[in-house]
Symmetry: C2
Subunit: 345 residues, 2 copies
């Protein structure tokens, strides 16, 4: 078994452990945030962690009325500038906790008086120790270079924080159901392995989401790029209509991430438009009615709360990317030219 | 002459007019911003205007110490949420001023007590009238669906605002030189028309920038997608190293946007790495030493201040995209499947 296969399969257990062991930490952090009353949140992250930050942008905006900015680390690292973060909650997210540029943004914010929080998978890492608060993902080591379980754990950590901030017991109850929903999603995604053969010679594709699952589009896209060495675009449904839709030629493959929820009608309209343009559509949804409009349909469990849907919706994408890489004959656990910990300035 | 060719050529004149007619407005807006003392800036924009917002994120962060967030309009439009923007300066950017989703974010912010500013190319548009302040781009009508002169005018409007905020007379003097620098860039970009033939059958490419010219990478990429119907990725140098660098196979075409300035060494290292991987590199820079490492070199004027470099650096990209579209036999002024004003929710 490949490391990545084991790590994908571990996700229900990882989430169960995170919920069991870190809910108290999330409560304490929420209390500190309420006391600080930030004017806004700034999140610093790179790569996959930045896609978790995108989820936070929607979730904390929608459920907690908190405006969220995504940091541009080079403002701090290359330009040595000090945007005023004194009224911010600063969150740094890094799987390894060793990201020096993300760490620099957190350190700058702390020096200015911001409330600081880091989310990492290594309690002994520099980033785990530098902030006012640390939330530990408790995933165990992630060996595969392409992150899977640490990504869904980051999403869950953010969801735990949101639920703690709103003291929402219904949300807490929904969170507790996640490990089972993720396990169901893994089962439902098993057929991907067989039909992925059709895409052996694919060279380029796109992934589209909206709202909460804008993050999912980014994350599936980065997995495909990392593992399969093909170009893969990612878009929100709205940005896609503002220009990039022009790239759709007959046969162009598009993954449409469309769980039920507020953006559903827009995503269904886009799917119809893509079919009109004869795109090859792969659909991730909990609405079986969309199966008719898909070359292949990747089902999600039927009782998925929209705000938690990104935790499940990414999973068929992880499995698609991994199996496509195998079908193309690539080394999956250690893609050529990538390293697990990336040092950027 | 195509509309887009005329509009690209008009850019020096458009910028000259904007500087001559709107500097007073920028000063008045700067005064209002200083009085309001925002905790942060939130910018709402879509497509090309969102790329101008990316420039603002760097410029206002670096020169004015203001943290900048890019809005996620669906939080407001689809989810009907009201993130607390009462301590924000809200900026809405839209070429047409008719973008209903961007307008909704501005209206929500205004109702909450935020200071609001819109930047549009139509003084009679809904967005021009809804905010506390409006900065008019004065570009004249833009007929081509793919935006060119309104994009560079948006960049200049943001630069004018930054210079007014810092009361920096050196910056003001540099701004006044821009129309000539843009005219020089147009002259220097003339050879693109001939060598673009080599890319007649290109199907996929990438554009990479960093810092101020992260915006340029996005904007060149969207022009290529809109006009040429090919996939085109865009990345910051750092994000690229965090995974997507895996897509580079021998012969893969990459536009490297590398004017002199703080990210220059990193971009030069990346160029060397791309050459090691046998990528096909097209380089936009004011450093002629990079020409040796480029299949084709797109020179910029030699006395370009880094903070204004995105206004010039995008121009060879506009011309590349337009000429590649012509070489591929596409309709350039009205790309199939796109409209000038895009209504999204």
């Amino acid at each position: 078994m490949l490391h990545i296969e084991r790590e994908i399969a571990e996700q229900p257990e990882v989430i169960r452990r995170l919920l069991a062991q870190e809910t108290g930490t999330a409560e304490r952090i929420a209390q500190a945030i309420r006391a600080f009353d930030p004017a806004f949140i700034m999140i610093a992250a790179r790569g996959t962690s930045d896609n978790a930050a995108r989820y936070a942008q929607y979730l904390l905006g929608i459920h907690n009325n908190l405006p969220v900015a995504l940091a541009t680390p080079s403002v701090h690292t290359l330009y040595k500038a000090q945007p005023n973060l004194s009224r911010a909650l600063m969150i740094g997210i890094s799987q390894s906790g060793q990201s020096t540029d993300v760490g620099q943004v957190v350190a700058d914010a702390k020096a200015q008086g911001a409330l600081t929080l880091t989310i990492t998978n290594d309690e002994g890492s520099p980033m785990a120790k530098m902030a006012d608060y640390h939330l530990s993902l408790r995933c165990g080591e992630e060996v595969s270079v392409a992150a899977t379980k640490t990504y869904t754990a980051q999403l869950v950590a953010i969801a735990m924080l949101s639920a703690a901030l709103s003291s929402d017991s219904a949300a807490q109850a929904e969170l507790q159901k996640l490990p089972d929903l993720v396990a169901q999603t893994l089962d439902l995604s098993a057929p991907v392995r067989d039909w992925v053969q059709r895409y052996r010679y694919i060279e380029s594709m796109a992934v589209i989401g909206r709202g909460y699952n804008y993050s999912t589009a980014f994350e599936i896209s980065i997995k495909i790029k990392e593992l399969c060495y093909i170009t893969c675009e990612q878009y929100s449904e709205a940005d896609f209509r503002h220009g990039p839709i022009a790239i759709i030629q007959p046969g162009f493959p598009v993954i449409v991430v469309a769980p039920r929820g507020k953006p559903f009608e827009l995503m269904r309209d886009l799917l119809a438009e893509l079919n009109k343009r004869k795109a090859e559509c792969l659909v991730i949804s909990d609405d079986p009615d969309l199966a008719d409009q898909a070359q292949y349909f990747m089902p999600l469990p039927s009782d998925l709360p929209e705000w938690l849907s990104p935790v499940c919706a990414v999973i068929p994408g992880q499995i698609f990317a991994k199996n496509l890489a195998l079908t193309k004959g690539h080394t999956v656990d250690r893609p050529e030219g990538l390293t697990k910990v990336t040092f950027t300035q």
